[in-house]
């Protein structure tokens, strides 16, 4: 009888641990800010924002995305890929120093944030091919 109670308590405990609070979900506190920036950002040796943004759009289209929003001044593109799943991605292009542009991407797969380095690496590899420029990691 005692063992049963113990298990029940353990169950409840685990479920409570499994449930994140609104605070955790809203601010996605389980990932490190610096680490996330690192895996989501690359630097390109160009200052042509217009061409870069247009190439980002073309790459997203090649990958099967549909553009949801685009803003030249802010340098941001948001797109969604539907393939039974929904993959939503925002890409921003910002000047970095005098000679470079910083491209940052973040993605959401259905209802979970994408925090693995691999999908981002794949995205930047695809982008490199269309940019004809190498993507450099941010120091």
């Amino acid at each position: 009888m005692n063992k049963k109670r113990l298990f029940l308590l353990l169950f409840i405990f685990i479920f409570l641990v499994g449930c994140a609070t609104t605070h955790d979900r809203l601010l996605d506190t389980d990932t490190s800010q610096v680490q996330l920036r690192n895996i989501q950002s690359r630097v390109f040796d160009t200052t042509d924002k217009d061409k870069t943004l247009r190439t980002v759009i073309a790459t997203l289209q090649d990958l099967g995305f549909i553009i949801d929003k685009a803003d030249f001044s802010l340098g941001s593109i948001t797109a969604t890929k539907l393939n039974q799943y929904a993959l939503r991605m925002t890409v921003t292009v910002q000047p970095r120093g005098e000679t470079q542009l910083l491209i940052r991407a973040n993605a959401q797969y259905n209802i979970t944030p994408v925090v693995d380095p691999e999908p981002y690496q794949n995205f930047f590899t695809s982008l490199e091919k269309s940019m004809f420029l190498a993507a450099q990691e941010v120091d």
């Binding site: 030249f72 593109i77 994408v114």
Partner: protein, 180 residues
């Protein structure tokens, strides 16, 4: 290992499986962000070049065409040549409804059928070499069933749709030039 108490074994297995369920989260498919040979094929299917350097004129014709096709404009950024529109249409399918009715009669189960769909179109223009402007269009749709659940989300990849669209776009560019 043998448990004396089968109840204990059951509880333990339940406990372990709940741990496994909690620890695994759906992962993004590996190929989601990789270019494939089909990517290039699709690009060709979805793109046409027009002989003009006036990107704004093409965008204007595209906006008029979206209206012709019953789309509302959701987003536009003329500096980047982006135009996005959507419309909601019925997704009812006679075959599916007949199937659901037969199922209901035979086993009394209710099967939701497709009810409506949001169809989205995205047009991107791009000035290309010497006096040319390329236009790329992509479509997708989200289908909702009679329970208001999403029953299908997909990319529309029917070559005929794209051919038809560009035929209409050529007409729209002509009409735009005539000021109709």
């Amino acid at each position: 290992m043998k448990f004396k108490n089968s109840k204990l074994a059951k509880t333990l297995s339940l406990f372990i499986s709940s741990l496994i369920i909690l620890s695994c989260q759906p992962k993004i498919p590996k190929e989601a962000l990789i270019l494939t040979p089909e990517s290039l094929e699709n690009r060709q299917l979805q793109t046409r070049k027009y002989e003009t350097s006036d990107e704004m004129k093409i965008l204007g014709a595209c906006a008029a065409l979206l209206q012709d096709l019953g789309f509302g404009i959701d987003e536009s950024e003329t500096e980047l040549g982006v135009l996005v529109g959507s419309k909601t249409r019925s997704a009812e399918n006679a075959g599916q409804i007949v199937g659901a009715v037969i199922l209901a009669i035979l086993i009394g189960a209710y099967m939701p059928t497709d009810r409506d769909q949001v169809m989205r179109a995205c047009i991107v223009t791009k000035p290309s070499e010497e006096n040319h402007c390329s236009v790329r269009v992509t479509f997708q749709r989200i289908v909702f069933n009679s329970r208001n659940e999403v029953s299908c989300r997909e990319f529309i990849n029917d070559p005929e749709i794209y051919r038809d669209f560009f035929e209409k776009l050529s007409k729209a560019i002509f009409l735009e030039a005539q000021g109709v």
